[in-house]
């Protein structure tokens, strides 16, 4: 997929003017946060579970090699295969090779952000394998040639009208605005594909070391058909998804559903443990797990380590006022919102991703809702520092901070300058006490007035008062 993160500002400007998008985003803002709050209120120990989850994730990350190896040996024991892939390219090649060995023409896919991250669909297509998305949102996007704008609700940027148009154009059926009818259409289209697929690819929400299982959670059940019907099941996931035991997994499942959709539990929680065994009624003949690193093991040793706790619940973007204003596509790559603003520079480079960690007021709402308590603002600030120290910060900003810093470090000079600038701005404001056009701050004054500063600064008034010996 094309990376447009360097154009974030322009993407955002267009998004802000897009009436349809703004309507769709209105649903994110009112829907998810409200549902999460209700679910939280029903579980008094929610915050305590968050602490437990944070601590457990920290423990896992510290012992990641041990748990991954334990997971691998269980998978092998169960008759499955594990593929370790350092880069996106390794992962793509590995997956294609499995598909080719099976002479696969079509593969069905469950929802997976890691396959977006490694750009799998385009690669498979270019190599003669047709991927078919089976998650309803992903299916709609595939028909439209779009990418997800949200990590759990990929088509959240669309309205019913858009879906209706898209289906009408692709399914050649009468146009409908009834969600149930549209759903039925998609089901019918997908049914044949499920049966025809040679390989099923899913992601994994978690990997369980003690049993060698992978789990996917969905609300549509499409994932089950994707991993049960084809002869080969490939799980594509990233290394930080491993948890020690089934018991540990349930802790995360409880947090994940509530944080993501406000459900107490997701509708389908489907575990896969190796290929079909003798006597099993269904299941694939082959079971492969593709473990993607793609910069994650580097993160363990860096200040971004805490980001590896992320369980991809999307609460941070659901509650982010910037995401709520500009939508996921503005971020210009796979992962949007606060978690994306931390991950994207790691994966595409700070040179291309720098505008993302800067696009935050540091309001801290994301951190306050994160189920594993990731200090997202702190991690975004890490990137700003990285950018500044690599001299990538835009010249104007760097210069501005330099000049300001020069005065801020010299209190006496600072006092003189501030008295002077106050007077100047005051003069500019005139009697109105506010400024509606300010040359260097047009970003402010294009949309709002600038209240004028005071005639005299507090420090001037205070020292006058001290000199006069007035008691306050």
């Amino acid at each position: 997929m094309q990376i447009t993160s360097p154009d974030f500002k322009q993407n955002a400007r267009i998004a802000l003017q897009d009436v349809g998008l703004q309507k769709a985003l209105g649903n994110v803002k009112t829907g998810f946060p409200h549902k999460r709050a209700t679910a939280m209120a029903r579980l008094p120990e929610f915050d305590q579970l968050r602490d437990e989850a944070r601590d457990l994730k920290n423990h896992i990350i510290e012992n990641l090699d041990i748990y991954l190896e334990a997971f691998e040996s269980k998978v092998l024991e169960n008759g499955g295969h594990v593929h370790w892939c350092r880069t996106s390219e390794d992962a793509r090649k590995t997956i294609l090779k499995i598909c080719q060995e099976k002479n696969a023409r079509t593969v069905t896919k469950g929802k997976s952000m890691v396959t977006e991250e490694i750009n799998l669909n385009e690669y498979l297509e270019a190599n003669g394998v047709t991927p078919v998305e089976t998650d309803l949102g992903e299916y709609i996007l595939q028909l439209r040639g779009e990418h997800p704008s949200h990590i759990i609700a990929p088509a959240i940027h669309l309205n019913l009208e858009d879906v209706s148009e898209t289906f009408h154009a692709n399914h050649h059926k009468p146009k409908s605005m009834d969600p149930a009818v549209l759903m039925q259409e998609a089901r019918e289209e997908l049914r044949n594909k499920f049966v025809a697929a040679d390989v099923g690819i899913t992601g994994a929400n978690f990997l369980v070391a003690e049993t060698g299982s992978s789990i996917i959670v969905t609300n549509e059940g499409n994932g089950d058909l994707t991993q049960i019907l084809p002869k080969t099941h490939i799980v594509v996931t990233s290394i930080e998804k491993v948890v020690p035991t089934l018991e540990d997994m349930t802790l995360f499942l409880r947090l994940l559903a509530r944080s993501a959709t406000g459900q107490e539990f997701t509708v389908y929680n489907t575990l896969s443990t190796g290929p079909r065994r003798e006597g099993d009624q269904d299941g694939p003949e082959e079971y492969h797990v593709v473990l993607v690193d793609n910069g994650r093991s580097e993160m363990i040793a860096s200040e971004l380590r805490e980001m590896l706790r992320c369980i991809r619940c999307a609460a941070c973007m659901n509650h982010c006022p910037v995401y709520g204003a500009v939508g996921g596509h503005s971020y210009g790559w796979v992962y949007p919102g606060p978690m994306g603003s931390v991950l994207t520079p790691q994966m595409i480079g700070i040179e291309k991703g720098a505008l993302l960690p800067n696009a935050s007021t540091f309001c801290g709402k994301c951190e306050s809702v994160c189920p594993v308590r990731i200090p997202l603002p702190k991690l975004m600030r890490y990137w700003r520092r990285n950018e500044f120290e690599k001299h990538l910060t835009p010249k104007a900003a760097r210069w501005g901070i330099g000049v300001w810093g020069f005065f801020a470090k010299r209190p006496a000079l600072y006092r003189q300058l501030s008295s002077f600038s106050n007077l100047a701005l005051r003069t500019l404001a005139g009697k109105k006490a506010r400024i509606n056009k300010l040359p260097l701050a047009s970003g402010w004054t294009d949309g709002r007035d600038m209240p004028a500063p005071s005639d005299k600064t507090f420090m001037q008034l205070w020292s006058e008062k001290q000199k006069n010996g007035a008691s306050s």
Binding site: K9, A12, R13, L16, P321, V322, A325, N358, A359, S360, T361, F362, C363, G364, K365, R381, W383, R384, R385, N386, E387, F388, E389, T393, A397, I401, G405, A408, K409, P411, Y414, S418, N422, K431, K432, A433, A441, G443, W444, D446, G447, R448, D449, M450, P451, A452, P453, S454, D455, K456, T457, F458, M459, L461, W462, S463, E464, K465, A470, S472
Partner: protein, 266 residues
């Protein structure tokens, strides 16, 4: 420095925005502190808390400013500011120094002494019979309160200003929807991403106007300037003040961005 053993000595951290835009806020803060039995001094070696540099990723300038601020407030029992955001920044100072740097311990020490004004009155001084100066002009009308992000999420300031306002006769609090949602100021954010910032403040002013209060209050001048500027551009009559102005009974000054302000010290 302390003459009366029981009288807490407070260093006022004026903050750059109150210094430049709203000296009244400084004088109101002093009045509240003195009314509550504190002795207040204003160290002259202070400038800004350094947040613009910190949030731009310029840690070296941030650390220079942190050292300057730490030194300026050495020896004060407490450091109080009319801003959750700037006190929040003071609480970040320890992150700027390595563990073996002596400044780290001094930064930790400053952090323990640094409080936002409403939190200081309620949480530290435990003022429960707070009364507005009887000689001050009374405030009559409805207010709505914006919870600024740093104060709310970094310092836990939510109940304190409301608790104090509840003790001021004539104040009726009309809560707005989403009072905890960011107004879009965000320091340099508002000029780096003006379109997004402008949308966020537009959402905010909608909620403010819908609340139907006469006055918008808050505890941080950055946010207040942003919201006042938007309300005025949109032509709304809601006036904007820092909460200490009401608490100290200093509402004879024009509201933010309204007509000429001329401070009468004391």
């Amino acid at each position: 420095m302390n003459t009366n053993k029981n009288q807490p000595v407070v260093g006022l951290f004026i903050t750059c925005l109150a210094d430049l835009y709203r000296p009244e806020v400084g004088f109101a803060t002093i009045k509240l502190l003195e009314q509550s039995g504190c002795r207040v001094e204003v160290p002259s070696q202070q400038t800004c808390c350094g947040q613009p540099a910190f949030n731009t990723g310029d840690y070296s300038t941030s650390a220079d400013i942190a050292r300057q601020t730490i030194a300026a407030f050495d020896g004060f029992e407490y450091v109080v500011a009319p801003s959750g955001s700037c006190i929040g920044m003071l609480h970040h100072y320890p992150e700027l120094f390595e563990d073996n740097d002596p400044w780290k311990a001094r930064a930790e020490d400053l952090k323990k002494r640094a409080f936002e004004i409403t939190s200081f009155l309620v949480d530290v001084l435990k003022i429960d019979d707070f009364k507005v100066d009887a000689t001050a002009p009374t405030f009559n009308g409805s207010v709505t309160y914006h919870d600024s992000c740093s104060g709310l999420r970094e310092l836990g300031i939510k109940a304190q200003p409301r608790q104090l306002l509840a003790q001021v006769d004539g104040v009726e609090l009309k809560e707005m929807e989403e009072s905890e949602t960011c107004c879009g100021f965000g320091g340099t954010f508002c000029v780096k991403y003006p379109d997004i910032s402008n949308r966020m403040v537009g959402n905010k002013t909608q909620n403010i106007v819908d609340a139907g209060a006469k006055t918008l209050l808050g505890g941080d001048l950055g946010c207040l300037l942003n919201m006042a500027g938007k309300l005025q551009r949109e032509g709304h009559a809601v006036e904007v003040r820092h909460v200490v102005e009401i608490l100290a009974g200093m509402t004879d000054q024009p509201a933010l961005g309204e007509a000429q302000s001329s401070v009468k010290a004391g």
